[in-house]
């Protein structure tokens, strides 16, 4: 891989917000494809930030910072990426479920999805199932991400699944869940389609859900 791309990757890992723009510009000046800069530099860097988060080296503030660094770099690439990639990835509706108002994890997921080309519709916290149904109908989005931290409110996931089922939309929409009290087992119990243990996994999960539609 070209050194200039590795520098971008390193800047993401080191949360170097001051130099990221210049480093991306250097890549472009050297004639490197924007898609390669994004995938091998930025995405790969974020992945490694995620690994460091999982072993405890990085913490919440670092994830937020990583998002800021990526945001700083994206305008340089966005325009060219849009033109090149045939279509943007899909729309994702994100919400913290009814009865819960914790949103740090959901916000990090939203940030990661949007820098990875998804259009994110964030409905906020304490969102009733009807509102999610309404947004699915309005936006035509077929991907929904639900966040829940309080184990008392896991039933709210089922309510969303049931509401979509009643409206005859369940087969057309894929639901991913995440948050402190969620698990693979809970996913099955609630009838959701995917579960992510950490925010970093979100992009991969939604890519797979998108492909399965």
């Amino acid at each position: 891989m070209k050194d200039a791309i590795l520098d971008v990757q390193k800047a993401i890992i080191d949360l170097n917000i001051d130099d990221i723009r210049q480093l991306v510009q250097t890549c472009l000046d050297e004639g490197i494809e924007p898609l390669a800069i994004f995938e091998d530099g930025i995405s790969k860097g974020l992945e490694m930030v995620g690994e460091q988060f999982e072993d405890g080296t990085y913490f919440l503030a670092d994830l937020v910072m990583a998002g800021e660094v990526v945001k700083e770099a994206m305008p340089l690439l966005m325009e060219k990426l849009d033109r090149e990639s045939s279509a943007k990835k899909g729309k994702v509706i994100l919400a913290t479920v009814n009865g819960d108002i914790h949103e740090i994890g959901k916000n990090i997921v939203g940030m990661l999805l949007s820098v990875n080309g998804y259009e994110v519709i964030d409905l906020g916290v304490d969102v009733p199932p009807e509102k999610i149904l309404e947004e699915v109908k309005r936006s035509g989005s077929r991907l929904v991400g639900l966040s829940v931290l309080l184990s008392t409110m896991v039933g709210s996931i089922k309510e969303v699944v049931d509401t979509l089922t009643e409206a005859g939309l369940k087969d057309k929409v894929k639901i991913a869940i995440g948050g402190a009290c969620t698990s693979e087992k809970l996913k099955k119990e609630m009838g959701a389609d995917a579960y992510g243990e950490t925010a970093i996994q979100a992009v991969k999960i939604f890519d797979e859900l998108q492909a399965s539609l």
Binding site: D55, G56, T57, Y58, F59, A61, D100, I101, T152
Partner: protein, 524 residues
Amino acid sequence: MGSVSLIPGGKTRSFKTDTLLLDALLDMGLHIQTACGGKGICGKCSVRAEGALSEPDENEKNLNVEKNGFRLACRSRILGDVSLYIEENETSVLNKALPSFNPDDTYAAAIDIGTTSIVVALVNLASKTSAELATVMNPQRRYGHDVISRISSAADMDISDTMSNLVQDAVLHTMSAALKDLGIPFGHIKRITFSGNTTMLYLLFGLDVSPLGMYPYRADHTDFADSEIAEKPALTGSLKIKRVFPDATISALPVLSGFLGGDLTGGLAVCHVKGFTKNAFFIDLGTNGELFLTDGRGRIFAASCAMGPALEGMNISCGMTADDGAITHVWVESSELRYSMMGNGSPRGISGTAVVDLLAIFLETGIIRRSGTFSRDLENRRLPSPARCEYTSASKKIRLWGDIGVTQKDIRNVQLAKGASLAASRLLLGQAGSSSEDIERVFIAGALGRNLSMDNFKRLEFIPDFPNAEYHYLGNSSLMAAQEACLDETFITRAMELRDRAQEVNLSALPEFNKEFINALDFK
């Protein structure tokens, strides 16, 4: 099914297969110590056992208890018939060194129902003295270690009833054993006052806890004065305690909302009784932190925050409560780490106060950075002996004495706790329109022991720096208030009046909460 038989007493009871031996013993009314909360590090729950139990796990093997036929009750599961060698009468629940109680006097009991443990104190109504009789594990712990998981479990009505019975049985068993030991007739107990967080009181009185676990965490039932309880047969009807102590009036401290319970109202009332009614800041440090401040005009603002159990040593890899075998205090002397501990022998774990000391030392010596991350070049650096770094691919750890150490994850859990309390304190100050300079007195209550080094506590910034304040360590404000309420019939009414004046601020609903929380995670 399986069974547990106690030898030589002969008591036998059946249990479902896979029941934790510890839960079975608690059900059988035995007093078992679990300082590490069931992590299998403190070894306090070891019992000599024979029969069908699960294989010992790594922790049990490390402690090397099994060679003499001993097993850790907190790690062993019942697979069939089990015999245990336990002298039932040896397991006296009483704390040592109790003052003498005159059996002819009249008494009251102050009972603090904590999520983790239940503390029973006896109050002599004649001499106006009181003493803590016993601390026992809250047997509801099998339905979860924190209030949220208890509320989830209580969605099943049978489990909700079981939890109500378990806690009443634990209180009754402890009280009757203690009173028999002291020779005090049950009829001499004239008053029983409970305190606890809202969920614990709801479960005790058999109320529906489901609204408490759901935003906006409303509590419809907030008063538990004796008249209140007498008027609602539903509450007393379920109360076995009333049947065993028919001569006692039963009441509990009021609560403010789902997450502001007896720690807060108790602290509020105690501070006011002491005359600190203005420019005071109070925080009860616990899994759920509860705080209030009074401004210069005496207005009261209250809030809660989710701290997690780090200060109780529960989500710390080598954490345990301040009990025999626990390191409670650590300091540096001629570039070596020194410690003091409870009891003798080699230390088994570290208590919350020692965790605070260690992190402050790590910060001062550059072992961790302001962000809480272990410094990069630790392998090549001289650390205060016996600290040495152990990096594996999966985790990073500073090893201290024996197996005891601090991991990166431990530090993160302390940061989550202090981030929550610091952000909550700053936001509450902001909502009240007060500044940290205005505060004249700071009261710290809760899980940490009296060994808390105030300097190290301040170094880690669990709360903002209050430059003009005197700091006081209050201890268990909830129990303290219950004791006061036993002696002073107007105390609960006054606590209710103060509670009514308090304005609750729902901090996590504020738009700036997340940013404030993330900013508060770093050390200074």
